[in-house]
Amino acid sequence: MISLHDITKVYHTRKGPRRVLDNVSMVIEKGEKVGVLGPNGAGKSTLMRIVSGAEQPTRGRVERAMSVSWPLGFVGGFQSTLTGYDNLKFISRIYGQSHQALLPYIQDFSELGHYLFEPVKSYSAGMRARLAFAISMAIDFDCLIIDEVIAVGDQRFQEKSRNELLNKRREKSMVIITHEMHFIRENCTVVYVVDHGKLIRFPDIDEGISYHENSFRR
């Protein structure tokens, strides 16, 4: 379980402080699939980073009894002068896992072949994303963070990663940010809408989606 208690996040901008999240709370249970909706810049990603611990709230308390992934397919964490395998080693060390044990899975899933032993800077965007996705799957997180779903690689790889994520990892908790409403409808068990710093919970998915679409349509 992850719970956020009375979280406030203030960013300092040139026009003065901006309250992105205003005293919000949420609970993510084991196995729950949480969809987060809201217009661009509403604070969805900020909420995500506070959930994952990448960022500290200005006020409030986070209790985390589950391990949380980085945003799936996030490629920014790679050191591009190092090889894919060196980056895998680094992440394995951080999470206390054996990189030898993870290697076969990574090789098989990322389909990088001998490129795994070349510097990441020589990879195409799709190759980086494949490596990042494979590593995110290999480390066994309790809660997966998905920011703008899985546009990883080509059509076939996308289907493969969706299958890996949604079928093989059904029991995991997930926090999902996306503008694809059908994805939310098909996969989420609860929806939160970020609205002017507040967080509104909708146990009924369709209700949440229509609130989102009515409030933020121009």
């Binding site: 960013y11 994952s52 985390r64 949380v68 964490g77």
Partner: protein
């Protein structure tokens, strides 16, 4: 208690991972690889020692110039490289914050450990090489005292690096002013003079910089009987402790506002 051991284990893992990443990124696997970590400062110190010997550039000392240069420049590299490695080091590493166990402190600590290992190895290797193969350097008279002085210098360097590093994330101008700042500090740091040769009236002023005391202790450990040292250990400890606390406070403040992309 088991919580504490668990956290320490995680911390150790994270620091080790960051160290390996930093070494590979900086030195790669080509030619001599990580040996650059101490070969680079050795070349620097060795070069300075050569120039000083050629020019007889050291003021007011009867001590062997090579030994004087090696103690002086090694100590400068110790605190100066630490600050350079920490200032502005967070921005290019912000994405690492997505791994919840990595904190800004860990990035600093891994870099500080690398610099201490590099500068210390360089100092030790140079002293031994010159001590064994030449007559420029005699074996240190009091190794324990030498190490104590070195540790005080390293502590000062770590505290300064964390303070300036954490400050530089909030105020960009820190990076700008530290370049001239460190340059001005070098001649005042005690590397190229000995306190005893200064006029009595300015000796206590020289000791206001903790590096001067630290270096005097190192040199007393090295030369002992041939050297009249001036230092103020309680002052250095106070100075370092206050700087450490300021550094950690600023680090805490800065860490709370870190925002990865």
């Amino acid at each position: 208690m088991s919580d504490l051991i668990g956290s320490l284990r995680v911390e150790g893992r994270v620091i080790y991972a960051l160290l390996m990443r930093e070494v590979l990124t900086r030195y790669g696997r080509h030619n001599i690889g990580f040996l650059w970590l101490f070969v680079e400062p050795m070349l620097f110190t060795g070069g300075v020692a050569a120039i000083w010997s050629a020019l007889k550039a050291v003021h007011g000392t009867t001590l062997p110039i090579v030994a004087f240069a090696i103690t002086g420049y090694s100590s400068i590299l110790l605190w100066r490289n630490m600050t350079f490695r920490c200032i502005g080091s967070l921005l290019p590493n912000l994405s690492l914050m997505y791994h919840r166990n990595i904190k800004p402190f860990d990035i600093y600590l891994s870099r500080l450990i690398l610099e201490i290992v590099g500068a210390t190895t360089s100092f030790a290797v140079l002293s031994i090489v010159f001590g064994v193969f030449t007559t420029y350097i005699t074996w240190p008279e009091n190794v324990a005292e030498l190490i104590a002085g070195w540790l005080l210098l390293a502590w000062f360097g770590m505290a300064l690096a964390i303070f300036l590093g954490a400050l530089s994330e909030d105020f960009e101008f820190i990076e700008k002013i530290w370049h001239p700042g460190q340059y001005l500090l070098v001649p005042l740091s005690g590397a190229a003079f000995q306190v005893d040769s200064l006029p009595t009236s300015v000796q206590h002023l020289a000791l206001l910089l903790p590096t001067v005391s630290g270096l005097e202790i190192v040199r007393e450990g090295f030369f002992g009987s041939k050297f009249r040292a001036h230092y103020d250990v309680p002052y250095v400890i106070w100075f370092n402790a206050v700087l450490t606390i300021l550094g950690l406070l600023q680090l805490r403040k800065m860490s709370r506002s870190v925002t990865p992309e």
